[in-house]
Amino acid sequence: MAEPMRIRATMAGDVADVKVLMNHPMETGLRKDAKTGQLVPAHFIQEVTATLNGKEVLSADLGSGISKNPYLGFKVKGAKAGDKIVVNWVDNTGDKNSAEAAIG
């Protein structure tokens, strides 16, 4: 089920600009299925962590108010080209995904 995640990291001065695009339906649990009228069960990413060369730089808790296919942008100081960014997420059903990219 875990679909690919896209990461793009670029250097701007001494700051790495990291952009992450995750693939996830992000169901709130409040929406009804148009055909059956049943509530669509909640299904959303709860935790995202990002590491730079193995050191944690960002840990996010997300709620169901984040849009479908979540986008996350952040900036890390003191990184350099070639450093490795790894992003992991876990959703409320225990599903998880991970991706890595080198800063370009």
Binding site: E47, L58, V76
Partner: protein, 155 residues
């Protein structure tokens, strides 16, 4: 009477059944998920959500910039950027004040990450988008109104 069964029955009407099952321990949450701040994310108003995060009465600050559209045509996707110029920013939380569950996300920053996050949020209706920033052990806040023409929560 089985207490677990009671819980399931009680909660099933309100929250999604998956969330309830997790709450009742039916699904095995991984260790990482146990850290997810459930009370804060399920709070129905901003005050309770802030309390869940351990924030009380944050001070207004001009050093927090929220970049969001004045009018969002589609409430399902509202781009929001929060920049904190406060020294020693350690966390940023984003609220959409009139959503069913106002807390949208909370980011903990460490090891050289700048006071900046960018994301896309859902908004049910026109409301204030509020950012709460923790810096140097204190909390600060700023808000910006976003008008929503088509809601993005529910259908």
């Amino acid at each position: 009477m089985n207490a677990l069964r009671r819980n399931v029955l009680k909660g099933a009407a309100g929250a999604g059944t998956v969330a309830v099952a997790v709450a009742a321990g039916l699904l095995k949450p991984t260790q990482a998920m146990a850290a997810w701040n459930k009370p804060a994310f399920e709070a129905k108003n901003v005050g309770d959500a802030m309390k869940g995060l351990g924030v009380s009465a944050p001070a207004d600050s001009k050093d927090i910039a929220i970049k969001a559209p004045d009018i969002a045509e589609n409430g399902a996707v509202v781009p929001v950027e929060v920049t904190s110029n406060l020294a020693g920013t350690t966390s940023i939380a984003i609220f959409a004040e009139k959503n069913a569950t106002p807390l949208v996300a909370s980011y903990a920053l460490a090891g050289g990450t700048e006071g900046y996050v960018s994301t896309r949020i859902k908004m049910g209706q026109t409301a204030l988008v509020r950012a709460v920033v923790s810096a140097g052990g204190k909390s600060y806040t700023a808000a910006k109104e976003v008008k929503v023409t088509i809601g993005g929560c529910g259908g």
